[in-house]
Structures are given as structure tokens and as C-alpha cells.
């Protein structure tokens, strides 16, 4: 059983986001990157499957700054093979381009199962897993909350809005978009990560030139703006409270 996990980094919201001079993208100068939370769940799910079935786990990631730390951490958790895909991710990269470029590389790894987070907060043109399944001509199920591997198929739980879940079987190979791993992503001691840095190897594969076709074109990126119709109450606390009370009364409250 060969499991490939696709993991990427996204802007860390611990820092305030700023728009760059073009007005169409985030200013990357001060931005920190963090592993996409749901990709972390995908890694955890792959390790859980490895522990149950002895599967071989390969983690594949775009070569963003600090991706090595993420890959070594995955190795310390139990991933067998680490691959980073080199390429020009700077200029208007989108998920269509990544999926198109990664499809042949991942096919070479002959996976039985491909896991990725079901979404990321910088997915503007659809989620990576679904696009990858499209380019690889494989079945895709998203919002997956549990995976059991059987003979030539996987039995999965898929979550729906409104608290509904469904159990279904999908023939392998397949791509799954992980909503949540069966256990929370584990913490791995820094000493183990440091050990992995000494022993694990990160392979590099060049993605070549990206074909950006199909991605969404950002025409304007902006911070949330105060909408029309909002009334800002000003003055002393007492004034504001009085005004608020009269407005609420006017609107029929109380």
C-alpha cells in the first residue's frame, strides 16, 4: 500500500495580512507561512493508516520557504519518503497549475491512495486534491473524516453540512480530501525532529514551467470595508449607551 500525502504551506494568520502595491496579492515581506491545518490532518491520517496496515507514506510538498521543517517533522512522525517539488511559486501560482504539474510526478510514485487537506484558506480556484484527481483521472471524495483500507478499495466516512455523515466505498487508487484525521495531529518532540534532520533525506524534483491556465485572476484584493448602512455611534460612553437604547427601542426591541 503506497500512500502519497500532498501538503502545502499557507499564510499564517498570527500576523496581520497586508496587501502589496499591486493591490491584487498579499504582501509577502512579513508574512509567515504555516502548514495548511487540514494537510496536517492528512499527514496524521496517513501515519495512522501506516500504523494499522504497514503502508508506505510519501509526503510531497511544493518548495515554499521553511518546507524542510514540515517534511522533517512528517518524517519524525513516521513518513517514509520526503519529496519537495521545485518551481517558480512566486508569480501568480494557482492550484490548477500545481495540480497539473504535480500529476505526472505523483503518478510516477504509483500511489494507491492520495491524501490532502480538503481545503486551504488560500484556495481561490478550487481545492488542490480535487483538481489533482481531475488531472490524474482518479476518483475523488472530499470532507473525509475516517479511512479504512480494504482489498482494492477504501471505506471512508464523509461529512456533510448539518451534522450528517455517510459511509462509502471508493475504489483505489483514489484521491481523498481530508476534513479531519481520526486522531488530532500528534506532537512530536523537537529532539525527534532534530534526529530526522540528520537521518532523513529530502528528494527534489523539478516541476518545470507552470501552466497557469484555469486559475482565478485576482482583480482586486482588499481588507473588509465598512459597508453602507452601518452607523457608527460616537461620543462618550454614556452618550453611546443612550443612543443605542433609543435605536433599539425604535427598532422594536424591549
Amino acid at each position: 500500500m503506497n500512500i502519497v500525502v500532498l501538503a502545502k504551506l499557507v499564510p499564517d494568520l498570527v500576523e496581520e495580512l497586508e496587501i502589496d502595491d499591486s493591490g491584487t496579492a498579499l504582501d509577502m515581506t512579513w508574512l509567515r507561512l504555516i502548514i495548511n491545518e487540514l494537510d496536517d490532518h492528512a499527514i496524521e491520517q496517513s501515519i495512522l493508516l501506516k500504523e494499522k496496515t504497514g503502508a508506505h507514506v510519501t509526503v510531497v510538498a511544493p518548495d515554499f520557504e521553511d518546507i524542510d521543517d514540515i517534511l522533517y517533522t512528517a518524517s519524525a512522525k513516521g513518513a517514509d519518503r520526503l519529496i519537495k517539488i521545485l518551481g517558480d511559486y512566486e508569480s501568480g501560482i494557482n492550484n490548477h497549475a500545481i495540480a497539473r504539474a504535480f500529476a505526472p510526478i505523483i503518478r510516477e510514485l504509483s500511489p494507491d491512495l492520495i491524501l490532502s487537506g480538503v481545503q486551504a484558506h488560500d484556495d481561490r480556484d478550487g481545492s488542490l486534491g480535487a483538481l489533482l484527481a481531475g488531472y490524474m483521472d482518479l476518483p475523488y471524495v472530499g470532507y473525509v473524516a475516517s479511512v479504512a483500507i480494504g482489498d482494492g478499495q477504501a471505506t471512508i466516512t464523509k461529512e456533510y453540512p448539518g451534522g450528517l455523515s455517510a459511509e462509502m466505498a471508493v475504489s483505489l487508487p483514489a484521491v481523498l480530501g481530508i476534513q479531519v484525521a481520526e486522531e488530532p495531529p500528534r506532537y512530536v518532540a523537537v529532539s525527534k525532529v532534530r534526529q530526522a534532520m540528520k537521518t532523513a533525506e529530502i528528494e527534489e524534483i523539478d516541476a518545470g514551467d507552470f501552466d497557469l491556465a484555469g486559475g482565478a485572476k485576482v482583480t482586486r484584493m482588499f481588507q473588509p470595508e465598512v459597508g453602507e448602512g452601518a452607523t457608527m455611534l460616537e461620543g462618550s460612553l454614556d452618550d453611546i449607551a443612550d443612543e443605542l437604547v433609543s435605536i433599539l427601542k425604535e427598532l422594536g426591541a424591549g
Binding site: 498570527v14 500576523e15 506532537y187 518532540a189 529532539s191 532534530r194
Partner: protein, 404 residues
């Protein structure tokens, strides 16, 4: 967990673990354990731990230490040094047995999830609160004067103030941080901070079993400190104090360190003329574990409190080396939910009950973990409604700024 620690010999995990305890300073004293059980009795959570310290040693001797590792008993340990302080054979239980056990728990992945979050935040952001490292000096914004970072000062500065995590980020503790800045300013101290270059001291993470993380954070601080010229380090955080005093030197990071209260107590002659009377109140002082029991600093805080006009210093039944832990040490700060589920009591409430029992108006503290912990606890304890929790720095600032 045996594979991670045991060499490829036939020695059991039990043996390898036991011998690893000898590497701690005075660690071989564990051989002399009398099984008197004083440690387990002194432990604030000993009554509900499946394996209090004395029983852990019994299991170790019976070669059944795996039972301890398989339980989650040790996560009730708040590294308060109460066991260590009373051991008649002076076995270093807290830095040795308890911390080493947590390290094994961590390697085995047997870690409560709320603690994992604090450790992950410390790894990612250099502070357990998960705040932006760039905002580490934002607490200075509420001051009427500038607190320079070393990077801005671009010169040798007398005192490096290691601000630490909670004083930098926690909204309640920031009030004590700004009070301390005003006291230093009044004393004419030439000081600067590291700002965003500062990382968590890592000591509580170390005591929670994450030694590798501690070393990583210490290395980062060591690098930042080596860039600048200064004569000494001060801090309001007993945990940072403990790291600089007892742990960083082992990693080659050696700087003279004083707790804020020691630093001020040496300057009382300069300070006294500025102290104006506060309203007459009874104040009692809580000895933080890592200032008191772990480092024997008991007098400096009392010297300061006794010098503030209007305050009458009274002692609680548990004081100095028998002080009661606030519950925040050794990872306890990040295990409140876990410990509540097990115990359904808070150690901090016990402390508040004592403060109420001596009719104190003010509970004075000297550790950044304490204002939020004790203020929360005071809300839950009958009769504590009018008890104020104040850091010594806050009381000093109030006295300095009081109307003459």
C-alpha cells in the same frame, strides 16, 4: 518508548531510565530513598495521583516503571519542588525523576492535547501563547516613555531586561510589566529589552518534558544575547530566572541574573524617598515556587513590601519553603483543563483561601503566572471578593505615584 532511549543492548527500559536519573545533579541519591512517602504527602496533587513520587520509585525498583509511563499520572505534577524540599535524603525529585518521566511521556506521545498546543506554539512563535513574535514589545505602547530594544539602542546598556512570555503578551500581566518599567525608570536604571529577538526562556517547557524544545529556545536566546553588550540580566519571571541561573550555564549561556525583587531590594535607599503612603492595608506575600523553593529567594520581596508605607505584611500559614503552588509550573499553566478533569479543585483556590484566612486585603505576587491565576481563583472562593491580587511591581508603582 524503549527504542528511542535504550542502546542496542539487552538492558531493559527500566534499567536505562533508572541510570539516566544519576546524570542529574545529586541524582544517585535516589538509591537512598527510604520509601517514607513524605514526598507523596507534600505533593499538592499526591492524594489523587496513581503514581505519586514515592510510588514511582517503588515501581522503578520493582522493574515495573512501564506502568507509570502507561498512566497519565505524572501530568498532575506542577514541578513545584514541594516533594524535593521535604525529602529527608535530599533526592532531586523535581529536576530528576519527575522531569525525566515527563520526557519519556513526551517521546512516547502520551501528552495531553492542551499541552501539545503550548509546545507547538513555543516551537512556531517562540512563545507558548501563540502570539506574533513581531509583537513581543507591543506592551511598551501603553507607557509615557520609550523602552528601547538593544537593536534600537545600538550601544552598551547596563541592564538587559529579559521580559519573558506572559509579561510581554498577557493583557493582565502587561499591567505589571509596565509598572516594572516605571519603577526602573524612576530608579534611573539604564536598561533595554531584546524585543522581537527574545524567545521564551523555555524552562516550563523543559519541566513539562520537552528538553529539545528548551534547548532550541535557549540557543536562540543565547545567540540574541551574544550580539549585545550589557552588565547583567533582570527579569520579573521566576521561570526565566531559573533558566538563566541553573540551566543556561550548562549550555554555555552565562550571564549574571537577578530577579526584579532582588534588583530593587539592593536599591532601597534610592527608592525609599520616592515611596508615598498607600491606604492602610494588610498585604500577604505568595512565594513563587521558582523564586522560593527552587532558588531560595525569600527575603527580597518581603524587604520591598515592608518598605511600602501603609502596608502591613502578614504571613499565610504556608509561607517561604512551604509555600503553596499556584498550579502553573512544570506545564501546569497549559494543563488546567486536564488537571481540572482529574481533580475538580484548583491549587490557586487553596492559596486564595489562605490569603482570606489571614484577613489580607492584598495578595502580593512576584511571578507573571500568578495575577491571572489568582484573580480567577478569587472569583471562586467565598470571602475573597475584596482581595486584590497585585504584583510587587504594581504596588511599588502605586506607592511612587500616590498623592503625597
Amino acid at each position: 518508548m524503549t527504542a528511542a532511549t535504550a542502546p542496542a543492548s539487552t538492558r531493559s527500559f527500566n534499567d536505562v531510565f533508572y541510570e539516566s536519573l544519576f546524570e542529574v545533579e545529586d541524582g544517585e541519591r535516589i538509591r537512598a530513598c527510604l520509601q517514607c512517602g513524605t514526598c507523596s504527602g507534600a505533593c499538592p496533587f499526591g492524594y489523587l495521583m496513581g503514581f505519586p513520587p514515592g510510588r514511582m520509585i517503588a515501581y522503578l525498583r520493582a522493574e515495573r516503571f512501564e506502568n507509570v509511563i502507561d498512566s497519565d499520572s505524572v501530568w498532575m505534577c506542577v514541578s513545584c519542588y514541594a516533594c524535593t524540599a521535604v525529602c529527608p535524603k535530599e533526592i532531586p525529585l523535581t529536576p530528576g525523576l519527575m522531569t525525566r518521566t515527563k520526557e519519556e511521556m513526551l517521546l512516547a506521545g502520551n501528552v495531553p492535547s492542551e499541552l501539545q498546543d503550548a509546545l507547538m506554539n513555543s516551537q512556531r512563535y517562540g512563545n507558548p501563547l501563540g502570539e506574533s513574535p513581531r509583537k513581543r514589545a507591543e506592551w511598551t505602547r501603553g507607557l509615557e516613555f520609550e523602552v528601547p530594544t538593544f537593536r534600537e539602542a545600538k550601544r552598551a546598556v547596563d541592564v538587559l531586561w529579559f521580559v519573558s512570555d506572559y509579561p510581554s503578551y498577557h493583557p493582565r500581566v502587561q499591567l505589571t510589566t509596565r509598572a516594572m518599567a516605571r519603577v526602573l525608570k524612576l530608579l534611573g536604571v539604564d536598561f533595554a529589552i531584546l524585543g522581537p529577538e527574545e524567545n521564551s526562556d523555555g524552562d516550563s517547557q523543559r519541566l513539562a518534558g520537552e528538553r529539545g524544545l528548551f534547548e532550541m529556545l535557549a540557543e536562540k536566546n543565547g545567540k540574541a544575547l551574544s550580539r549585545y553588550e550589557f552588565n547583567q540580566v533582570i527579569t520579573s519571571d521566576p521561570h526565566a530566572y531559573n533558566a538563566f541561573k541553573n540551566e543556561y550555564p550548562k549550555l554555555g549561556i552565562e550571564y549574571p541574573m537577578q530577579h526584579f525583587t532582588e534588583f530593587v531590594a539592593e536599591r532601597m535607599d534610592d527608592l525609599k524617598p520616592h515611596l508615598k503612603p498607600l491606604e492602610e492595608q494588610r498585604v500577604t506575600y505568595h512565594d513563587p515556587c521558582y523564586l522560593g523553593r527552587a532558588n531560595d529567594v525569600y527575603d527580597a520581596p518581603r524587604t520591598i513590601l515592608s518598605a511600602i508605607p501603609g502596608l502591613e505584611l502578614v504571613e499565610m500559614p504556608h509561607n517561604r519553603s512551604t509555600s503553596l503552588c499556584c498550579g502553573g509550573g512544570g506545564g501546569g499553566m497549559w494543563l488546567d483543563g486536564f488537571q481540572w478533569e482529574k481533580a475538580h479543585v484548583r491549587l490557586s483556590e487553596w492559596r486564595i483561601q489562605e490569603a482570606v484566612s489571614v484577613n489580607a486585603d492584598i495578595l502580593a505576587v512576584a511571578c507573571p503566572y500568578e495575577p491571572p491565576r489568582f484573580e480567577d481563583a478569587a472569583k471562586m472562593v467565598e470571602g475573597a471578593g475584596r482581595l486584590a491580587v497585585k504584583d510587587i511591581a504594581e504596588l511599588l508603582a502605586e506607592s511612587i505615584e500616590a498623592d503625597a
